[in-house]
């Protein structure tokens, strides 16, 4: 009698286990987040594009607006015919900055949701786990703000493309851009101080930049580099050496809470000189936090995307209108514009890929991209078999305290060509 009970218990456990295994494979098609507007025009079978973002972690401010920008673009597109009548469905997964989530989110989108390509991604360090999954399945991947050397000339990985930068490329572009921004006010150059939060990436961001800057433009000398550990909320200790060294310009590039804390700290300690932000790390919304706290004089922002404050650019105005129409969680900023631009690339590639598009054909189409960014950056974005990065265009803004917006201070965009303009080799 008793042994029958225990045997049956065993069978029940076994049945549960089998049920769990069988039931978990394959989804019912319920998508994480869909924008397939069953509008008047696009009603065909949806084209699924996967998007990896950070929706809930410390870099949300950098990556989530990119997703929102893409979402706006596709909402608008789907309401106006989609791609040859088919709506584009954007399936988003939150990978935060966790490698486990990176792997599982990418796997889910590729294997279970059958996306035709992946886009987005979060920080540089978290892209390799996604690359593993992408390579195992032959899925093209277009990253946003962050990139890896794998995409750079002369022999980029066939599946990986980017609309963003690696830290080294950002630093090298900054060397070119810097004189254009500050030579007018400081014709004899000066010292540049740099703030980045303490992390292995700090080297490429600050040290490399200052070393190369000194070589290329000797009138600009390296100033103090300040780095506070991640768990910092009081930056005084770390910023004081910067302020004491009286730099000519203070460049502040870090995760948002650090960058704004460092900037406010610098002003509080008495530094009144120019503070320059990196627009991609601290978009307009974060810069406004600083301005609210310490005022907007002498605030600059370096960017490779047009600022959302340039509402005279028609495409910028369009994005703002779409944001009003469809709604966004984060107020539109240059990150949103970057995402919109990425969606432009994806849509253009899908269109050229045509009917019967699959992952391989789409990859080939993406590789032939050469699109007009309509003023969202300084020129076309174009890829080729030897270059999956394309030219980047950089400019700078200064906060105008009377207009209360960012205003362009570098009229013509600086071009950065990854084939020729890297000042030192990239790490492999």
């Amino acid at each position: 009698m008793r042994s029958w009970r225990s045997w049956s218990a065993l069978l029940v456990v076994l049945a549960l286990f089998a049920g769990a295994c069988g039931g978990s494979g394959g989804s019912k098609g319920a998508s994480s987040d869909t924008t397939a507007a069953a509008g008047k025009k696009a009603t065909g079978e949806p084209i699924r594009v996967g998007w990896l973002t950070d929706a809930t972690s410390v870099t949300r401010g950098t990556y989530f607006p990119e997703y929102e920008g893409a979402k706006l673009f596709f909402s608008n597109l789907n309401d106006n015919g989609g791609i040859d009548g088919r709506p584009v469905e954007l399936l988003v997964e939150d990978m935060k900055i966790d490698p486990q989530l990176a792997v599982t989110a990418a796997t889910k989108l590729i294997k279970e949701r059958n996306v035709i390509m992946l886009a987005g991604g979060t920080i540089e360090g978290r892209l390799p786990p996604v690359f593993e999954v992408v390579r195992a399945n032959g899925v093209p991947f277009l990253t946003g703000h962050s990139a890896r050397p794998d995409m750079f000339p002369p022999k980029p990985d066939p599946l990986l493309f980017t609309a963003g930068n690696v830290f080294e490329a950002m630093s090298d572009a900054r060397v070119k851009l810097w004189p254009k921004v500050f030579d007018k006010d400081f014709p004899n150059g000066g010292t540049s101080a740099c703030y980045i939060h303490e992390a292995p990436a700090a080297f490429a961001v600050c040290n490399r930049w200052l070393d190369q800057q000194q070589k290329a433009t000797p009138q600009w000398k390296p100033g103090t580099i300040a780095k506070a550990p991640l768990q910092t909320t009081d930056f005084t200790n770390y910023i004081r050496p910067v302020v004491d060294s009286k730099p000519t310009v203070f460049f502040d590039i870090s995760i948002a809470s650090h960058a704004i804390g460092a900037a406010v700290s610098a002003r509080n300690l008495g530094y009144q000189g120019p503070i320059a932000f990196s627009m991609t790390a601290t978009p307009e919304t974060d810069i406004n936090e600083v301005i609210k706290q310490v005022g907007g004089q002498n605030i600059y922002a370096l960017s490779n995307v047009t600022s959302i404050d340039e509402t005279q650019v028609p495409e910028v105005k369009k994005v703002i209108d779409m944001a009003k129409k469809y709604g966004t969680e984060i107020a539109p900023n240059s990150g949103t514009l970057n995402g919109w631009m990425m969606a432009m690339i994806i849509a253009d590639s899908l269109k050229r890929c045509g009917a019967g598009c699959d992952r391989t054909k789409l990859r080939d189409a993406v590789e032939k991209t050469n699109i007009d960014t309509k003023g969202l950056t300084g020129g076309n974005i174009a890829y080729g078999p030897d270059d999956h990065v394309g030219k980047r265009y950089w400019t700078a803004y200064k906060y105008d305290t009377s207009k209360k917006t960012l205003v362009r201070v570098v009229k013509d965009w600086i071009t950065f060509d990854p084939k020729t303009d890297l000042l030192a080799p990239l790490a492999k």
Binding site: L230, T232, T233, F235, Y238, R240, A256, I260, S265
Partner: protein
């Protein structure tokens, strides 16, 4: 003479004093390590960020500001009470490790709540007097640089005085020394525990205010509040008196290391100090010895 070192040390010590005080208050009353304290500080900071009325300009704070601040502190006390009654009290009698782990679970819950409600938000508390500056002995000092020290000292001496002279304070000390004996003498252990927790969370909210004078509010507050924990240990987990020297030692070593030795080691320095102090005095600078060396 560069007085900024002293200003920085004083300021950091004040912040640490506030953060460590909460740990000690709870530990003294119940020998429980309150790992939820950093989470409570963070919750207090975010609540302050949201509810404190924005002031327009000038150093004068409106009555609304002070009222809201008081309300937040009182709210903190209530939260402490709730946590005690709902989660800590039912664990009475369990092993100490289990109770500590319960506070850890509370920390997670707090992180979850903050995550859901204030997802990814960061910003500065609108505290009046932001731009008030003094020049003391030729050094440029902000009002806000002195606030943490003043507030920290005030809280610390206030609690010390409370423990020493008020009736409730004496009762708390009795419970701290021997709960069983105190219970037999008619002291309501539950009420003491509840009082301690309420006090600890009220202190946490004030700590949140002081940290808000220095930098932005963000999810990283939990990590930085953990350093306050280190200070509590250096001083001796159940010693109020040990807190002041502990805060000064840890703050001084951190500021000096960051400034003159190496910025990276600055993060590890509070822990290294802890290690050194504990090797010399295993129960902290002024903590009571816990294990009797007899069977």
């Amino acid at each position: 003479m560069d007085l900024t070192v002293f200003v920085d040390i004083a300021k950091l010590a004040g912040i640490y004093l506030g953060m460590a005080l909460g740990f000690v208050i709870v530990y003294r009353a119940s020998r429980v390590l309150n790992l939820a304290q950093p989470g409570l500080i963070m919750l207090g900071a975010f609540a302050t960020l949201t509810y404190l009325p924005k002031y327009d300009s000038g150093p004068r704070a409106t009555p609304a500001f002070w009222l809201t601040a008081l309300a937040l502190v009182a709210g903190g006390a209530v939260v402490g009470l709730v946590v005690y009654v709902a989660l800590v009290r039912p664990m009475a009698g369990e092993s100490r490790v289990s109770i500590v782990l319960m506070t850890l679970a509370v920390l997670f819950l707090l992180e979850a709540a903050v995550e859901v409600h204030w997802r990814g938000e960061r910003g500065f508390m609108s505290l009046p007097g932001n731009q008030v500056n003094y020049t003391i002995f030729g050094t440029h000092v902000r009002l806000f640089d002195l606030v943490p020290l003043v507030v920290g000292l005030a809280m610390w001496s206030g609690v010390a005085a409370f423990y020493k002279w008020s009736k409730a304070g004496i009762r708390i000390r009795a419970v701290a020394e021997s709960p069983a004996l105190a219970a037999r003498r008619g002291i309501n252990i539950d009420r003491i525990g509840a009082l301690s927790w309420a006090l600890a969370v009220a202190v946490a909210v004030v700590s949140a205010f002081t940290s808000g004078t220095q930098g932005p509010v963000s999810g990283l507050l939990v990590g930085s509040a953990l350093k306050g924990f280190t200070v509590a240990l250096v001083g001796g987990l159940d010693s109020i008196g040990g807190l002041l020297p502990a805060a000064l030692i840890v703050a001084a070593s951190e500021v000096i290391t960051v400034r003159w030795v190496d910025q990276q080691w600055g993060e590890a320095i509070p822990f290294v100090v802890l290690l050194v102090v504990l090797m010399i005095k295993p129960w902290g600078l002024a903590g009571t010895v816990e294990e009797l060396e007899r069977v």
